[in-house]
């Protein structure tokens, strides 16, 4: 069941040449987690702020559970927001912060205390209820912010880069915690991030954004394996980029080699993306190229080989155990990849 609808949402900041958000439309099912993924300045935070009502769209609508909330001020939207800075009230205790939203809703004192306790228990911070934000670690502050947003039983949970202020060590754990919590509570969630790993690991749906537009809206697997545009292919994950010319549909001339691809434009110059993990040392494949190893990078679990082929430079990522992973600079291998694994875009 569709819970959140963005309908041609647009925001132009005065004086800016380009719209910060240029007509975004998407739908999100109830209970799902959507990641807005993109580089800084792509409009992802502006989109989140428009959903929360903190920014007024110039055009378009926001619908929650079928209701048009575009004209509502933030205090009447019932959305739980976790800010990048957490925005905890420094003059209130953790419990006071969590109670604030309930107090604003006129929840009676006794029920309020119980719901505050539950919300803090949900994030495992019952014991620290009396602490002020300054007396809490970054991770604890983050969980208070999450408890505060969830305590009001929001129609939507909105997270603005909630992990960016945390230590790299903490980030992965908190990421999984947020995801588990979100699924347990069943909160429909929009999550803003510039970190593809975060987006891929947490989201049910990823919207890859660039210059105010959604380049691709799909599952994490789809975004990673089948990027819809050149931008998505470069922004998400690593890939070797080759340039070529379509000779016939399905066949591309690439340097001295001919490559077969599942989907190509009918004609013209193209850019080809090949993910390193799709490149394998094999004897037979739809595309088979002799490759000379230029550089070998050992990272434990995988070995990256940068190779020179007749089609251009290829990156291959091999599991540490396979015999080919022992190749060193100067060695020659036979590398193959499937036609379906090539992503081809008009250059």
């Amino acid at each position: 069941m569709t819970h959140l609808v963005l309908d041609r949402l647009t925001r132009r900041f005065p004086g800016a040449a380009q719209a910060a958000v240029a007509g975004i439309s998407l739908e999100l099912p109830k209970g799902a987690l959507l990641a807005l993924l993109g580089p800084s300045g792509c409009g992802k935070t502006t989109t989140l702020r428009m959903i929360a009502g903190l920014e007024k769209p110039d055009e378009g609508r926001v619908l929650v559970a079928g209701r048009d909330v575009t004209a509502l001020p933030p205090h009447r939207r019932n959305m739980g927001v976790v800010f990048q800075s957490y925005a905890l009230f420094p003059h209130m205790s953790a419990a006071g912060n969590v109670a604030f939203g309930l107090e604003m809703r006129g929840v009676a004192r006794a029920e309020r205390a119980e719901r505050v306790r539950q919300a803090l228990a949900l994030v495992g911070l019952e014991e620290l209820a009396a602490r002020r934000p300054r007396q809490l670690s970054g991770g604890q502050q983050q969980r208070v912010a999450l408890a505060r947003a969830l305590a009001i039983q929001p129609d939507l949970l909105l997270l603005d880069e909630p992990l960016s202020a945390l230590d790299a060590k903490l980030r992965e754990g908190v990421r999984d915690e947020i995801r588990a919590l979100q699924q347990r509570v069943g909160a429909t969630t929009v999550f803003v991030t510039h970190d593809q790993t975060e987006a891929l690991a947490m989201a049910d749906l990823v919207a890859v954004m660039n210059q105010g537009r959604v380049e691709q809206l799909a599952s994490p697997e789809e975004v990673f394996e089948r990027p819809a545009t050149r931008f998505v292919a470069t922004f998400v994950g690593r890939a070797a980029r080759l340039s070529g010319q379509v000779e016939a549909p399905g066949t591309i001339r690439c340097g001295e080699a001919l490559l077969r691809a599942a989907e190509t434009p009918a004609t013209g110059a193209v850019e080809i993306f090949i993910r390193p993990h799709h490149v394998r040392p094999v004897a037979a494949a739809e595309n088979l190229l002799p490759a000379r190893v230029l550089r070998r990078t050992y990272t434990g679990e995988v070995v990256s080989l940068e190779c020179e082929t007749p089609a251009g430079r290829l990156l291959a990522e091999l599991p540490g155990g396979v015999p080919e992973a022992r190749a060193t600079a100067g060695d020659t291998l036979s590398l193959g990849f499937a036609a379906a694994d090539l992503r081809v875009f008009p250059a």
């Binding site: 939207r77 739980g80 927001v81 800010f83 925005a87 003059h91 604003m104 002020r132």
Partner: protein, 262 residues
């Protein structure tokens, strides 16, 4: 890095220059003699006794204290919302409002005093409490606005936004989140307004009357006509009040920090 010997000498010289008159006045206030002479011929508390038994001066001290408290409250009540608007809201004429609120600071107080007399006389407000409160507030409000605008601007905007998303109307968010966090600024602003009013002399000179006078005005008049050390004792009383207010602020704001901000 420790400051060099030269800088420390320079600072010591500065302090000596600034504080030596106070030391002289303090010494004279304890004089046993009948005239404003330094060094005093002997020491006594007679001028303090005389000061505290002078009905006129004590009445003026009371007036000044009450007036200063009322002015501080009025200045905060006017200054806080105005500062909030200047710091947070976007509306046409915002810069004009900020300029208007600061304008009394730019006028010579002599001009302001005369203008206020001319304006208040026909309204029968000269030499009345409302008239004095109005006049002193005009001078105090710019100080309150300046300090409170800085205090409000220093409160991160996303705290207020967070309050909105949690269901607080803009007014409640301002009262429950922004104002308490800006409270030390309000305390400082209130104290400064108190002192501005308590020490205000020139405008008061135009507006006081035989039945309602303030301490600085009485002190001025006394010094005009008499040359005994009473005026030194009076000066010490003024300094003591100012010092007490400053200490109170330090105590209050420090207290607030300990409770709310750390």
């Amino acid at each position: 890095m420790r400051p060099g010997i030269l800088l420390r000498l320079f600072a010591a010289l500065g302090y000596t220059l600034l504080l030596s008159p106070v030391v002289v006045v303090a010494a004279i206030s304890f004089s046993a003699g009948d005239f404003l002479t330094f060094p005093p011929p002997g020491f006594s508390l007679r001028w303090y006794q005389q000061l505290f038994s002078s009905g006129e001066l004590m009445a003026a001290l009371r007036n000044s204290a009450v007036l200063a408290v009322v002015v501080a409250v009025v200045a905060l009540l006017v200054g806080a919302p105005a500062s909030y608007a200047i710091a947070r809201l976007e509306f046409p004429g915002r810069d004009a409002l900020a300029g208007l609120l600061a304008a009394p600071l730019l006028l010579p107080t002599l001009v302001l005093g005369l203008a206020l007399l001319l304006a208040l006389q026909p309204l029968r407000l000269a030499a009345t409490w409302p008239g004095l409160v109005l006049a002193h507030s005009m001078v105090a409000i710019p100080f309150a606005t300046r300090i409170m605008t800085t205090a409000f601007t220093a409160v991160p905007r996303d705290l207020e936004e967070a309050a909105w998303t949690l269901g607080a109307t803009p007014l409640r968010a301002a009262l429950r989140v922004t104002l308490p966090i800006a409270a030390p600024g309000a305390v400082a602003a209130g104290a400064l307004c108190f002192l501005v009013s308590f020490d205000e002399t020139v405008i008061s000179l135009f507006l006081v009357g035989p039945r309602l006078s303030t301490l600085p005005v009485e002190m001025f008049r006394y010094a005009e006509n008499r040359t005994d050390p009473l005026v030194a004792a009076l000066a010490m009383a003024l300094i003591f009040v100012a010092l007490a207010v400053v200490l109170l602020v330090e105590r209050l704001v420090g207290f607030q920090r300990a409770l709310g901000r750390e």
